[in-house]
Symmetry: C2
Subunit: 203 residues, 2 copies
């Protein structure tokens, strides 16, 4: 039995943001580790033929209301971004570079991911801008010049492409998706079910 929760998310996904705030506590409660897996829903939707949630008639209006209502329930800050959705390619590459790089640490990865999410959903910053990403990474002990260089490297670009391919192969079609021992859970509103699953050993 692996003790890992693969946590797939897109930085442009409000439910990914909300779940990112809650997944660590669930992992801790069951002595699991969170494996942070940033992906690009845009690339995944090209394969599955889906469209961004907020673009669907009626469902989109519900979603925008529900992002805020779900945030309020869990006392999380949520300001719906004026530019939404976005293609978070640079932030995604940066997160993978930090996660898998020479100075990889799960804590630093997690801190970086939270910083990017907060910048977008709490502070309205443009997280598609590499300079903004670099600025956010400095207080976390990440060399911003190195980071900006990494974003241009083919190996880093390839790493993201591979991560998305692997996600699709694992059955990931949305954000957030949590996978534990091949069991797939989709959605911020499934964290309670994941919690019960881990507590009970499944059913």
């Amino acid at each position: 039995m692996s003790k890992i929760i693969d946590f797939y998310f897109d930085f442009s996904s409000p439910y990914g943001y909300l779940a990112s705030k809650r997944i660590q506590a669930i992992a801790d409660a069951h002595e699991h580790e969170v494996n942070w897996r940033p992906i690009l829903l845009g690339a995944i939707f090209k394969v599955t033929g889906q469209a961004p949630l907020t673009e669907a008639p009626l469902k989109g209006d519900y979603a925008v209301m529900d992002f805020a209502r779900s945030a309020r329930e869990h006392k999380l800050v949520y300001n719906h971004p004026t530019v939404f959705p976005i293609g978070a390619v640079a932030a995604c590459r940066a997160a993978l570079w930090i996660r898998d790089g020479a100075q990889a640490s799960n804590e630093r990865t997690s801190n970086f991911i939270h910083a990017i999410f907060d910048a977008y959903y709490a502070h309205g910053k443009d997280i598609t801008n590499p300079e903004v990403i670099a600025e956010l990474s400095t207080p976390l002990g990440i060399d911003s010049a190195e980071l900006l260089t990494a974003l241009q490297q083919q190996s880093v670009k390839d790493a993201l492409r591979l991560e998305v391919e692997n996600a699709l192969a694992a059955g990931v079609f949305g954000s957030p998706v949590m996978i534990v021992n091949k069991e797939v859970f989709w959605g911020n509103d499934r964290l309670e079910q994941l919690d019960r699953w881990l507590a009970s050993g499944g059913w």
Copy 2:
């Protein structure tokens, strides 16, 4: 404050079926009544441009797995129908005729809805067949000859069309959707949140 939970569902919706088994207990716990509102997702999807869940790549496979997993968690019988999805027009009209007819009773309506759902998801019956619907209604004290006649009446057809129009106007885009005092909750996996909402008075 109204003490009513409007419960919108499609007989062809597995999550509608699962939620139909659990909504009454939540309503009872908070001294609310369930207003059963059968609708046709097919008609709603024409307006919103959505497609049946199980037809989406990856997401569809997840859904079929999750119908059964969600049923198991709540100890509910679920046998994925061999013919799926279906257009449950006749069952929908019958439910409305029973709900709004001369001998209307919320208990009889609820019993009928459970009988149709069980026939489809537990016993693999063809609930698109009016004869099957009539047969299921007899033990509930419903005159099956009257019911079969009603299914042909323009007033009953109009009642369903109106119910779908009203659902769209209220923001219903899926199944199940629960509405309490204009607050909309979508999905079987939001019943817990609805429960907390009713317990706390909202947030």
